[in-house]
């Protein structure tokens, strides 16, 4: 975490200054581990969800293999979410700036960003996605254990089996909704976002436009302890 925040221009940057470290290597690695585990669970889960998507099991080794690994990858995703929680808990708390931003979210959707109030390292939408995945994975874990060891739930408590199915389906669909928006925004919508989670850097213009409070905090005093706004 002690990497200098503003990286002297190693490449051609135009007249708008240097690049800023947005995600440390550790943050990038954990993001992509989480992505790997989630996508595996997504592919196998969709295969179990609908006969019309059962063919998805074939691309991850067939039905029994998919069934064997799905809960283990689910556990791995839980660990990775806990890790991300420890890493980003402070950054992800909803602040007053977020509440102001959330009221103007309509402008964000319409790409009229100049009408938005400034926000910190993450905006309200990113924070919502983070908490959705965190609470989602907690529900998926608890209900998933019920589905994993379904015979361990005695016949007299079989209503727990039905609740496990219901909770698992609802939580999975909710995270899928968030996942679709997350992937769309990270790749197609917010230009520069995808490279930032690959190589960790954003341009100063990018930082100023999307996360002004964070930009101001990291550029005001370029010392490492001021990394977080």
């Amino acid at each position: 975490m002690s990497t200098s925040q503003v990286i002297s221009s190693r490449r051609t940057l135009g007249e708008h200054g240097g690049r800023i470290l947005r995600y440390t290597l550790s943050e990038r690695v954990h993001h992509w581990l989480g992505a790997l585990f989630y996508i595996y669970c997504l592919i196998t889960g969709l295969a179990f969800w609908s006969p019309y998507m059962y063919w998805l099991a074939a691309i991850v080794g067939g039905g029994p293999t998919a069934r064997f690994w799905h809960p283990w990858f689910g556990l791995a995703f839980t660990v990775s979410m806990v890790w991300m929680y420890k890493m980003w808990d402070r950054d992800m708390r909803i602040t007053d700036a977020d509440r102001r931003w959330s009221k103007a979210m309509e402008y964000y959707v319409k790409n009229e960003d100049e009408k938005l109030p400034p926000v910190g390292r993450f905006n309200y939408g990113q924070k919502l996605f983070f908490w959705l995945m965190l609470y989602g994975v907690i529900l998926l874990l608890i209900s998933g254990i019920g589905l994993w060891f379904v015979e361990g739930i005695p016949w007299s408590l079989r209503w727990l089996r039905y609740i496990a199915v219901t909770v698992h389906v609802i939580a999975a669909l909710a995270t899928i909704g968030g996942f679709i928006i997350h992937v769309y925004m990270g790749t197609a919508m917010v230009r520069g976002g995808f490279t930032s989670i690959i190589r960790g850097e954003v341009s100063e213009d990018w930082a100023r436009t999307h996360h002004r409070l964070w930009y101001e905090a990291v550029t005001k005093d370029r010392g490492p302890e001021k990394y977080r706004p």
Binding site: P51, Y52, W155, Y162, L173, I180, I181, M189
Partner: protein, 295 residues
């Protein structure tokens, strides 16, 4: 195997209709268990093990004659012994042969996500196809009778097949063949229903067992295994035989409307972000725009 020549009526986890659906008709087969003449000898338990190639496993003693608390993946046929107090205070032992009921509307099949892991033949037998089973255990949640059991070694589900390999060769199931009192019968559903009703009528009229009746629950559209009970109003007394079994409504919604609502929502999400991109496009950093705002 010879049962592969049997036509399939329903198939689990299958996209589209079952292959061969409605191309062939056959009589429904049925097992009749007359609990009023069962003596609890467990010959059917042994015959089941022998025919299906399982060896006798460890039993669990629970202060009763019962071999173990529930059926197991390698023990498909279990007589349930229940002490029952009659209205006059005397004690009787209710004995019921417990196994897969071969529901006309099978909850295991409805819940199963694996293509072809559970099939229902046109003769009504519900059979697990272990080569297609993925061991997820959804059938455990779907079954209203607590029948499917998991083999932790092979990670496949097992249950009574109604000796489909014998039936498809014109033989009766192994349990039927072994019964010394003749309390087990096998034939077409219509014949067994007739026989059962005749027996129940006999019990009511000639033996004064007024509540005698036939257990063929309508909640699962009838079963391929039917019982004659001394007291049709209290099937729970026979080791927890449910009074009105039906496929759990959670399973019905999960495999019915929830699937389509969920699929439409996912499709809607993908469509939504695509439309957003077409309408508003990407967020690009226009450096000029921020020229005046630099600190």
């Amino acid at each position: 195997m010879s049962q592969s020549t049997l036509a399939v009526r329903r198939i689990s986890g299958h996209a589209g209709p079952a292959p061969g659906e409605d191309v062939e008709r056959s009589e429904l087969v049925c097992k009749l268990i007359d609990t009023t003449t069962c003596i609890g000898c467990k010959a059917c338990e042994v015959a089941c093990l022998e025919w299906n190639g399982y060896t006798f496993t460890e039993t669990v003693f629970d202060n009763s004659y019962q071999t173990m608390p529930q059926t197991a993946w390698n023990y498909w046929n279990l007589i349930k012994f229940n002490e029952h107090e009659r209205e006059d205070g005397s004690i009787t032992l209710l004995m019921r042969k417990d196994q897969c009921m071969h529901c006309a509307d099978p909850g295991c099949l409805a819940a199963c996500p694996a293509d072809g892991a559970i099939v229902q033949y046109t003769n009504g037998i519900v059979d697990f196809q272990q080569q297609n089973c993925i061991g997820c255990g959804y059938c455990v949640s779907g079954c209203p009778f607590d029948i499917p059991k998991f083999n932790p070694t092979t990670k496949k589900m097992f249950k009574c097949t109604l000796c489909v390999d014998r039936v498809s060769e014109g033989l009766e199931p192994a349990c039927i063949k072994s019964c010394p009192t003749g309390c087990l019968h096998f034939g077409t559903k219509d014949d067994m229903k007739d026989l059962a009703e005749t027996r129940a009528k006999q019990l009511r009229e000639n033996y004064g067992i007024e509540k005698a009746g036939v257990y063929d629950p309508a909640g699962v559209d009838g079963t391929g295994v039917i019982y004659v009970l001394h007291d049709i109003t209290n099937p729970e007394a026979y080791g927890g035989l449910p009074k009105n079994p039906h496929v759990p409504w959670v399973v019905r919604i999960w495999k019915g409307p929830a699937k389509w609502i969920g699929n439409l929502a996912m499709l809607g999400g993908i469509l939504g972000v695509t439309l957003h991109y077409l309408r508003y496009g990407p967020k690009e950093i226009d450096a000029e725009k921020h020229e005046g705002k630099q600190p």
